[in-house]
C-alpha cells in the first residue's frame, strides 16, 4: 500500500515541480546567453552585481531593505528611455568562490556589465581582456556634474582613487566609497571599571588586563582577517616606521605617493625578503611577533570561528575590532542596550619596545565598493551607456543617497556628505596608510601558508624562534617564485642600498 503511495508521491511531486517551474516564479532569466541573439534588442539592458548596495538587500540583517540604487536606476531610466537597469546577486561561496563564478561568466562573455569586485582581483586577469580600462573616460567630463571638466575631479580622495591603478598604470574601477577599521568599545563596561580609551600601547594592555580580570573578553577578534591581516600590518608598520625612509627603495609615482607614502610594493618586498630583513636574525622583525604573541591572551579564545558580533553585542566582549560597516548594526539593532564608542589602535612607544617610535598608527582600510566594467559591455555594444551610468552614479546626490542609506561606508565622491555616525572613521582615515599589506602582496599560496602558521604560533603551537625560522623559509620561497614570475632586476635596488649604507637585516 505505501509503495503505491510512494510512487504516487514521486509522480505528483514531479508534476508539481514542473508546474511551479513553468509558473516561472522567482528570478527572471537574464536573457539568452551569447552567441545567439535572435533579434537585435531595441532596448539596452545593463546588469549590475552591486554587492552590498543591491536593492532589497538587508545588510547585516538589520534595518530596512536598501532601495537607493533602485531609485537611482529608475531616475536614470527616466532620463534615458530605452535603457533598462537590472540588479543581480553574485553567489557568496565560503572561501572566495565568488571569483570562480565570476571568471566562468567572464570567460563566457555573459558576466554582468558592472561588477563590484576588489580591483586587486581584476589585476590578476588583465591579460585576458575581460575588464575595461577606464582611464580614457576619466579624462573626459562628467555631464551630470555642473562645471565638471574632468571626471577625476568628482572623487573626494583622488590619491586613494589613483592608488587603485593596476600594475599597468590604468584604473579599472570606480571606488565608490571608503571603508576603515576601528575598535568599538563598551562605554558602560569601561565606566564601571574606571577606564577610558588608551593613549598608548602600554595603557592599552593595562586596560585589557583589567577587563580580563573582571571576567570580560577584553578584545573580540577573529583569526582570518583581524589576527593574520590587520594585526600584522599595523604592528609591523609601527616598528619599522623609523627606518622606512631607508628601506623604501623606490618611490611610487607622485600620485601614488600622495596616498601610499613609503609603501613597500611587492617588488621591494621581495628584495627585502631576499636580503634577510624579515628573518629570524632581525631583532626588529622578531619584536613584531613578540608583541603579537604577548597580545594573544587578551583576545577571544576561539579564533577559528568566532561569532564576533554576538560576543560584543551580548556584552561578553568589552572591545571589538571591527570596521565602519558595523555602524549599521550598532545603529539599527533593536536590542542594543549599552553605550558605545570608537577609538583606534594606539601607538606603540619605547616603553613596550626599543624599536617603536610612537608614531600614530597607520590606516589599513581603503576603497570599499569598487565598480568595474566587464567585457560584456563591449560585446553588447553598450559601453558608452555603461560609462554614462557610472558618471550618473558618481554625482554628489546619487553617491550620498547610495552610500548614506547603508550606513556602512563613507562616500568617495566630492560633495557627497557622509553619514554623521561615520565621522569617527573618517577621522581615523586621515592617518597615513600602512607600510605594506602583507597578505595582498605575494601569492595566494603564501597567504594561506602564512595564515596557517601565524595561527599555529599564536595559539602556542611552537615558539617565537621556530616560527620565525619557518616563516623565513616559506617567505624566501614565495619571494623566489614571485621574482621568477615577474623577472625582476634588482640592480637599481642594490645601488640604492649601497648608497644608503644598508646591509641586510636593517638594524
Amino acid at each position: 500500500m505505501s509503495t503505491r503511495l510512494f510512487w504516487l508521491f514521486l509522480v505528483l511531486v514531479t508534476a508539481v515541480g514542473a508546474v511551479v517551474r513553468a509558473a516561472g516564479g522567482g528570478v527572471p532569466a537574464a536573457g539568452e546567453p551569447h552567441p545567439e541573439p535572435t533579434v537585435a534588442p531595441a532596448r539596452h539592458l545593463i546588469e549590475i552585481t552591486p554587492g552590498i548596495y543591491r536593492p532589497g538587500n538587508v545588510p547585516q540583517s538589520v534595518g530596512e531593505p536598501l532601495r537607493a540604487f533602485r531609485d537611482i536606476a529608475d531616475e536614470y531610466e527616466r532620463l534615458h528611455p530605452g535603457v533598462s537597469v537590472r540588479f543581480r546577486q553574485a553567489p557568496a561561496v565560503a572561501g572566495g568562490g565568488e571569483g570562480d563564478w565570476l571568471r566562468t561568466q567572464l570567460a563566457g562573455g555573459i558576466a554582468p556589465e558592472i561588477v563590484q569586485i576588489n580591483t586587486e582581483v581584476v589585476w590578476q586577469d588583465l591579460d585576458k581582456g575581460w575588464w575595461v580600462n577606464l582611464e580614457p573616460y576619466l579624462a573626459q567630463p562628467n555631464p551630470y556634474v555642473p562645471g565638471n571638466e574632468v571626471w577625476w575631479d568628482c572623487f573626494a580622495d583622488i590619491a586613494l582613487t589613483k592608488a587603485k591603478r593596476g600594475p599597468d598604470g590604468n584604473l579599472y574601477c570606480i571606488p565608490m566609497d571608503i571603508v576603515e577599521t576601528g575598535i568599538f568599545y563598551n562605554k558602560d563596561v569601561f565606566a564601571s571599571l574606571g577606564l577610558s580609551p588608551p593613549a598608548d600601547w602600554e595603557e592599552f594592555i593595562r586596560i585589557q588586563k583589567t577587563l580580563k580580570d573582571a571576567g570580560y573578553i577584553p578584545l573580540v577578534v577573529n583569526g582570518f582577517t583581524v589576527v593574520c591581516d590587520w594585526t600584522q600590518d599595523i604592528i609591523f608598520d609601527q616598528l619599522f616606521y623609523e627606518i622606512l625612509d631607508q628601506i623604501d627603495l623606490e618611490k611610487g609615482s607622485r600620485d601614488e605617493e600622495a596616498y601610499l607614502r613609503g609603501y613597500l610594493a611587492p617588488k621591494e618586498l621581495c628584495y627585502l625578503i631576499k636580503r634577510g630583513f624579515f628573518g629570524p636574525d632581525n631583532p626588529r622583525y622578531r619584536e613584531v611577533w613578540r608583541i603579537i604573541r604577548d597580545w594573544r591572551p587578551y583576545w577571544s579564545h576561539e579564533l577559528a570561528n568566532t561569532d564576533m558580533d554576538r560576543l560584543f553585542l551580548t556584552q561578553r566582549g568589552a572591545m571589538y575590532w571591527s570596521g565602519s560597516w558595523f555602524i549599521r548594526r550598532m545603529k539599527n539593532d533593536p536590542y542594543l542596550d549599552f553605550d558605545w564608542g570608537i577609538f583606534y589602535v594606539p601607538p606603540i612607544t619605547k616603553a613596550t619596545s626599543p624599536y617603536a617610535c610612537g608614531a600614530e598608527s597607520a590606516v589599513i582600510g581603503g576603497a570599499g565598493n569598487q565598480y568595474s566594467v566587464t567585457n560584456r559591455a563591449v560585446l553588447d555594444g553598450e559601453l558608452d551607456i555603461v560609462i554614462d551610468f557610472l558618471r550618473f552614479l558618481t554625482t554628489p546626490e546619487s553617491a550620498e543617497r547610495l552610500v548614506g542609506e547603508a550606513q556602512m561606508f563613507f562616500p568617495n565622491v566630492k560633495g557627497a556628505r557622509m553619514d554623521p555616525e561615520l565621522a569617527a572613521f573618517a577621522d581615523i582615515f586621515r592617518h597615513r596608510y600602512c607600510t605594506v599589506k602583507w597578505l595582498y602582496s605575494l601569492s595566494q599560496e603564501f597567504n594561506d601558508t602564512h595564515r596557517r602558521w601565524i595561527m599555529y604560533f599564536v595559539n602556542g603551537g611552537f615558539g617565537l624562534d621556530e616560527f620565525l625560522a619557518l616563516s623565513d623559509s616559506y617567505m624566501q620561497q614565495a619571494a623566489d617564485y614571485y621574482i621568477d614570475k615577474h623577472g625582476y632586476d634588482f640592480s637599481e635596488y642594490d645601488r640604492v642600498m649601497a648608497e644608503r649604507g644598508l646591509s641586510g637585516g636593517g638594524r
Binding site: 565560503a94 572561501g95 570562480d100 573578553i217 583569526g223 582570518f224 577571544s300 579564545h301 576561539e302 579564533l303 577559528a304 570561528n305 568566532t306 561569532d307 554576538r310 560576543l311 551580548t314 561578553r316 566582549g317 595566494q444 599560496e445 594561506d448 595564515r451 596557517r452 602558521w453 595561527m455 599555529y456 595559539n459 602556542g460 603551537g461
Partner: protein, 304 residues
C-alpha cells in the same frame, strides 16, 4: 553447480551487454573519461590555464616527502580509527534500542526521529557547533559552571584540541542511513532463531553478543566500507569548520589538500596525484575490510 536444468542455455551473450549498455555509455562519458583524464594528470605538471608537461612520477616522490600530506595522512588514520571504533557502532546501539520498542507505531516514529535529520545541511550543523564551541557557547558556559574555567580554550584554534574538537562534531554519531541498515539487518533475523535464544534463557546482552552480532555481519561489512569511503574522501566538514586545516596542520586531511591544490593554487597535476594515492588507499582499505569481515562465502555464487 548447476541444479535446475538450464536447458542447455550456454549464456546470454550479447543480450547481457545490451542491458548494460546505457549504464556503460553514461559511465564512460561522465565517469571513466574524466577519471582517466584526472588520473593521467597525476603524471603531469599542469597549472590551470597552461599546458600540461609530463613529469612522470615526480609528484609521487614529492608527495612522500610533503609534510602537509604526511600530516594529513596521520590525521586521516586517527579519524578513520575513531570512525570505525565509535561511528560504526553508535547507529547499531540506536537500532537495537528501537528494535526492542513495544509497538510498530512506536518503532516507526523512533526511526523517523533519526532519519529526518539527514536533510539538515552542513551549514546548519556548522552553526550548531559554532554555537557550542564559541566563547559564548555551551562548552564554555558549562566549564564555568563547574568551576573549571581555566580549561577554557579555543577548541578549534588550539593545536592540542583542534582535531579532537573536529572529531566530536556529529555527536552522537547516529546517522539515519547506517541506523536503518542495521535495523533492517536485525529485522532479517528469523523469528525462530530469536525464539530459540529466548528459550535458552539468554539475557538481552547475551542475545546481542551471540545472536545479533554474528547475523548482522554483512551489514557491518557494508557500513565499514561506506565509512572508509566517506572518511577518506571527506573534506567539507573540515573546510567549513576550520577553513584551511586548522592551526598548523592539526586538522588537515588529504581531501582538503587535494582541493586546495586543485582549486586554490591551480596545481591540477599535484592534486590528481593526491587523488590517485587516495584511490589506491581506499582500494586497499576496502579489500582489507572485505577480508577481515568475511561472512558467508558470497564470492563465486553467480546466477542460476
Amino acid at each position: 553447480m548447476r541444479r535446475n536444468g538450464r536447458s542447455g542455455r550456454s549464456g546470454d551473450g550479447w543480450r547481457g551487454w545490451l542491458f548494460v549498455l546505457p549504464t556503460l555509455v553514461l559511465l564512460c562519458v561522465f565517469c571513466y573519461y574524466p577519471a582517466a583524464f584526472a588520473l593521467r594528470m597525476a603524471f603531469a605538471r599542469w597549472d590551470i590555464g597552461g599546458q600540461p608537461q609530463w613529469v612522470g612520477a615526480a609528484h609521487f616522490v614529492t608527495l612522500m616527502r610533503d609534510p602537509v600530506f604526511i600530516a594529513g595522512a596521520k590525521n586521516l588514520l586517527r579519524l578513520l580509527a575513531f570512525a570505525l571504533c565509535v561511528g560504526l557502532w553508535m547507529p547499531l546501539l540506536a537500532a537495537e534500542l528501537i528494535f526492542h520498542a513495544a509497538t510498530e507505531r512506536r518503532r516507526y516514529l523512533l526511526r523517523a526521529v533519526f532519519v529526518v535529520p539527514m536533510v539538515v545541511p552542513l551549514i546548519v550543523v556548522w552553526l550548531v557547533w559554532r554555537g557550542i564551541y564559541s566563547d559564548a557557547g555551551a562548552v564554555t558556559a558549562f566549564l564555568e559552571l563547574v568551576g573549571k574555567g581555566h580549561w577554557i580554550r579555543g577548541w578549534l584554534s588550539d593545536p592540542d584540541t583542534a582535531l579532537g574538537a573536529l572529531m566530536f562534531v556529529g555527536f552522537p554519531f547516529v546517522s539515519g542511513f547506517p541506523m536503518l541498515i542495521y535495523y533492517a539487518g536485525l529485522s532479517n533475523i528469523s523469528e525462530s532463531v530469536l525464539d530459540a535464544a529466548r528459550i535458552d534463557g539468554a539475557s538481552t546482552l547475551g542475545a546481542f553478543r551471540h545472536v545479533h552480532l554474528p547475523m548482522i555481519r554483512p551489514q557491518v561489512r557494508l557500513l565499514a566500507i561506506l565509512t572508509v569511503l566517506g572518511v577518506v574522501q571527506g573534506y567539507e566538514a573540515v573546510y567549513v569548520l576550520t577553513g584551511d586545516g586548522g592551526p598548523g596542520y592539526c586538522t588537515m586531511v588529504p581531501g582538503l589538500y587535494m582541493y586546495q591544490n586543485g582549486f586554490s593554487y591551480g596545481k591540477m597535476g599535484y592534486a590528481s596525484a593526491i587523488g590517485l594515492v587516495m584511490f589506491v588507499a581506499i582500494l586497499a582499505f576496502t579489500l582489507g575490510v572485505q577480508r577481515y569481515l568475511r561472512g558467508e562465502a558470497e564470492e563465486g555464487r553467480g546466477p542460476r
